[in-house]
């Protein structure tokens, strides 16, 4: 059984850090679905949200512990099983003309956080911000109109925890897992 894990990491804002993190994931054969990085609340650190796909149960502990070993990574939390909010933004260029533009706008109205950001005679660019599932259901509804270009940011996430994590915080998955993990 494999699963998707959502990992939040605080990293030094220095040249090469992204390379180190990406190199670790590549070398260990972990599959990055999305990696988002940007400024955090602390000027010297950036925050990353990393979504890892197809993690076998046996590698669950590996993902966070290997990441924690990267010296430029200051804080690692596997938040998959925690209470967290997660959002991504997508810009979607759809083929649209005079006749069907109205239909597309109607579809958009079904979604929170979705709007038209640009219009041309034969296309519209839509923006949506929301949980991954919401972005994907909008994409499914737009599919018949012809999606010309798509840009997704990847997930950004924060836990709802009232306690703010300390530098050096490590929250892996449970260290002792199910017996099925054994071999």
């Amino acid at each position: 059984m494999t699963m998707r894990r959502v990992i939040s990491a605080l990293v030094h804002d220095r040249p090469g850090v992204l390379n180190r993190v990406a190199s670790m994931f590549r070398r260990r054969g972990f599959n990055i679905a999305s990696l988002t990085v940007g400024h955090s609340e602390k000027p010297e650190f950036s925050r990353m949200t990393i979504v890892v796909d197809n993690v076998p149960e046996s590698a669950l502990w590996q993902v966070t512990s290997q990441l924690w070993n990267v010296v430029d990574v200051v804080e690692v939390m596997d938040i998959t099983d925690e209470d967290y909010v997660a959002r991504e933004t997508a810009l979607i260029k759809v083929r649209a003309n005079q006749e069907n533009r109205g239909h597309i706008v109607e579809i958009l109205d079904l979604f929170r956080g979705a709007e038209v950001v640009s219009v041309s005679p034969s296309t519209v660019i839509l923006e949506i911000t929301g949980p991954t599932e919401q972005v994907e259901s909008l994409l499914a509804l737009l599919e018949p109109y012809g999606i010309l270009e798509l840009m997704r940011t990847g997930l950004v996430a924060l836990t709802k925890d009232e306690e703010v994590p300390q530098d050096g915080e490590f929250r892996g998955p449970a260290l002792v897992g199910a017996p099925s993990q054994r071999r």
Binding site: V11, H12, P15, G16, N19, R20, S23, R27, S58, L60, W61, Q62, S65, Q66, W68, N69, V70, V71, D72, V73, V74, D167, G168, F170, G172, L175, V176, G177, Q181, R182, R183
Partner: protein
Amino acid sequence: MSGRMLAGGEFVCESLQAEGVDLVFGVPGGAILPLYDHILKYPSIHHVLTRHEQGAAHAADGYARATGKVGVCIATSGPGAINLAVGLGTSFMDSTPIVAITGQVTRPAIGKDAFQETDVTGVTIPVTKHNYLVLSATDIPRVMKEAFHIARSARPGPVLVDLPRDVLQEIDEFTGYPETVDDLPGFRPITHPDPIQVEAAAELINSAKRPVILAGRGVLVAQAEKELQELAEKAQIPVIPTLLGIGSFPGNHYLYLSLMGMHGSAFANLVVDECDLLVNVGSRFDDRIIGRVADFAPNAKIVHLNIDRSAIHQNVFADAPVIGDAKNSLKALLPQVDKQTRTEWLSRVDDLRREHPLVVRDFDGKPSTQYVIKRIHELTNGKAFIVTGVGQHQMWAAQHYVTDRPNSFITSGGLGTMGYEVPAAMGAQMGMPDEQVWSICGDAGFQMTLQELATIRDEKAPVKFAIMNNFHHGMVRQWQTLFYDKRYSQIDTTGPDFVKLAEAYGMLGIRVEDVKDVDSAIKRAQDHDGPVIVDFLVEIDELVYPMIPAGQSVNEMVEDPWTQQQPLGTVAR
């Protein structure tokens, strides 16, 4: 605080001096020249000019493993730096503390494909614990402090510091070497284990009927030999060292078993097959130990003590993981572990030992590699420092050079780097000038780095090289014999006349072709106060047994057909 105005190169020298570094290995070149210019003014730092950067890296590694101190190697940008890489990989896999200093092209030239420019920090990410590209001279002391700290702390490893030439030339105020590492929030190893984890481990140990300990290099790194012995004796648990754990438990102790795994002793493998608890102290469950995971210690629960959290659940799932330094973890465990006698299990272990002994096989005329190693063992009383290459001779050395001296068995285990044996022996010898260092070499591995013989001559390092000369890539030949129907492909490694080579380098050279001359050659080498090369022309058809083919289990273990033909009890251990 106001300081002296110094150049970046002097910052490096001041840092090395403050770290107490008195020996460094390296090769100069354009980008690193400012450092080499300044190092002349620091007579307390002895620089050894190796003939190849790989030699510098391995020498620093051998020095570090023998002494427990951080080894330092230096190279110039581009080719010099990449030549270090195999050494860094070797140190990385075997957790050896190394600080590698490399020159880089000037800051304005970086990224311009300048002459001898290589993205060294990029190239070495996977083979270093951490690395730095330093962009200002004032950063050098902090970076050096952090580099040494990271290299030697927790699970040790190599750290590389890349220094652009103009940074080495930059004049700035040197306000002293930092006393502490202040700002390294991303490096916080857990040294003291969580009591809950310790309790769970103690419970498993107390309820086990047939436990066994696997002792790795983590015991040596943490200097936890005493605690390991206390645990083994208190709970009466037999101890198997890993290849890198040799010396962590006294080899003459009644609880000592031999190595396990691919070329481990049959009895140690059978003990693990039968055990109901395996306590791994400070090793990572290398695949050459576990073989096929599903069949590894099939009846056992696993207690895994390791300071590197990523070693937990990496290859074998642990029922009771304990993250922490081996010494602290064992100390925490000891009071919670019950005293036991365990007569039944220990007598079963003794039966297995008697029924499946590890024997040294003799051939007529030509000496066997096993025999030569056994004689070196006996004539040095098991007290020499042993450095090996990679291949058949390495496995026989591990099987037969039983020792009780921590850090005295030095070998490239994780990466299996041929050529390690020559420069690493030099490094070990220079770190331990009063010890007898024997380098057990393969003829092929020896030829990969023999250029360092000149360095060894220059430094008057009295290493005793014992070349196990079978004129072949012996281990490759063994695999081709067993798994490729004797279709021998590219294995003839006939080298030069090693006795003449020794003489060419101003060393004593001795050739041994007959088994009866083995002892006198070893003694002559021991009595000679300089470096010696003994060219042992050994039996070619000798295979390393027992053998568990890669990825298989103890059920597929092949024991020496010869041993098995002998009546039980006639072959001594």
